[in-house]
Symmetry: C2
């Protein structure tokens, strides 16, 4: 008998536990949990691994959905492949955050990449992703990958003219990620990038966080020659429409020549979608004006 089944008056009662994420004060998503695999207050945040019926194993940080086995491919492919196909020869790549390893897995699909450094402040995210999300974290032990448990903001501040592509795979700007949404951080990224470098940052959603998108775009525009916003559909993230900000010193993601795309295995990204993802709904485009 599973622990959630109880007998009462000779009848088996099956309890059903649901996790609800309040994505705003007045709206959320709710899903059936089969079991909680791990729960702990780390040095930096509350970490839960749950097994959900609809989405498979799922990582929560501070009660917010970070990634799930069923829909993780959208976020990880769209963070990685848009900048990596924009840059003509990405060799040295940095991922800030992203301790679940999903972005790294996608980065390694590009044969030009010689080294991929992951800097996540919370080693527990890496540890439990390897244990409970092997489909996502399974490439963290690849010889091309350098995993560091460290403060991404400080790592960026110490880097100079080093990376071809930097990807910021952070949580929301609360808790440990609050520094990763500042103009000082974007200036540090510009310094850490080579002279033709490019960076991407997840930028939340236009339905509930319009101000955040507007502010990030404004700040990045002051520092990078080319600033762009693109979107993707992620069903377990607030509003289902997720935004990503690109800051680039030289290469425009909208002007990638067709011969630059090589074959990779994906479930969401295509070379046609590479450009279509930048064609924004009118109310989203209006945020950038």
């Amino acid at each position: 008998m599973r622990p959630l089944d109880y007998m009462r008056n000779g009848r088996k009662l099956v309890m059903s536990i649901w996790f609800t994420e309040k994505q705003t004060q007045n709206f959320g998503i709710t899903m059936k949990i089969n079991k909680t695999l791990h729960t702990e207050q780390t040095e930096f945040q509350k970490l839960d691994m749950i097994e959900t019926e609809e989405w498979g194993n799922m990582l929560l940080l501070d009660d917010m959905v970070m990634t799930s086995v069923r829909d993780e491919f959208v976020y990880h492919e769209m963070v990685a492949h848009v900048p990596l196909f924009t840059h003509p020869n990405p060799e040295n790549v940095l991922v800030v955050g992203g301790g679940d390893g999903g972005v790294i897995r996608e980065v390694l699909k590009h044969p030009s990449v010689k080294k991929a450094t992951l800097v996540d402040i919370d080693g527990k995210v890496i540890e439990y992703s390897k244990k409970f999300l092997p489909e996502i974290a399974g490439k963290l032990d690849d010889p091309r990958v350098d995993v560091r448990v460290d403060d991404g903001f400080m790592h960026i501040a110490k880097s100079d003219n080093e990376y071809d592509v930097i990807m910021v795979d952070s949580t929301e700007p609360v808790g440990p990620a609050v520094n990763l949404f500042t103009k000082g951080f974007y200036a540090g990224i510009a310094k850490a990038l080579k002279e033709d470098g490019i960076f991407v940052a997840q930028s939340d959603n236009p339905w509930f966080k319009a101000d955040l998108i507007r502010n990030v775009q404004r700040d990045v525009k002051e520092i990078f020659a080319i600033t762009r916003l693109y979107v993707a559909n992620i069903p377990t993230y607030p509003s289902g429409l997720w935004a990503f900000t690109i800051g680039s010193k030289k290469y425009d993601p909208l002007e990638v020549s067709k011969d630059r795309f090589h074959e990779i295995e994906t479930k969401y990204y295509t070379k046609e979608l590479h450009k279509a993802a930048f064609v924004l709904p009118k109310f989203v485009g209006d945020l950038l004006k």
Copy 2:
């Protein structure tokens, strides 16, 4: 004092009522309700009008979200403007379902339209949309609009070579809409359309209803020369990614010349998005193979 406030031991307790739509057996959305404006079992379905904190007034049919004041523009604009800008001169338009009036409101933005007929089987949807969703239903009394409370399937069956554009704005294929997802219905639409006519139907979502999309595409392809699928982000609909099927006898929505677009006021649709909406995520495009 509002009805949901109670006193206990001299303290005011504020109760909070939440509506949860189970979009699948194991996943759903949940939102705070300020009050229920109307609830009734009509001849065809359960109808609720609720005032939500996040989305404004909202229509539910059989406990499923149909439309809300805050995000309705996405669905209504994307149903209407994609086929109407594809057809070079739409004059006579039919909307099947759509008793909330949102698609009609968008149709009337096209000056070429001389007549727009709405056929909804449930007069109560029309009546209560006019009362509680005036921003959406407000154009149903326009002199160009002919509102009929009738069976859409039968109306289509009786029509011959009559319409330039037909839009199927139905509920899911349960309850009164079950006939609207059959090959017989699509054949009837082909007959009801003029020789260069075009139709669009909402086709649910690729995350939870992949089979439905695959089946609709297969059936429509057998009848129409040009069959296409496009998507839009609707946060209150399952998965946030909604699909629409186009069946067209002559005009391809991907080959609309730029001079055909005239200025209209929109919040989601743009002439660039008209084409980008057809660029599908890989797993969605794979459903059509």
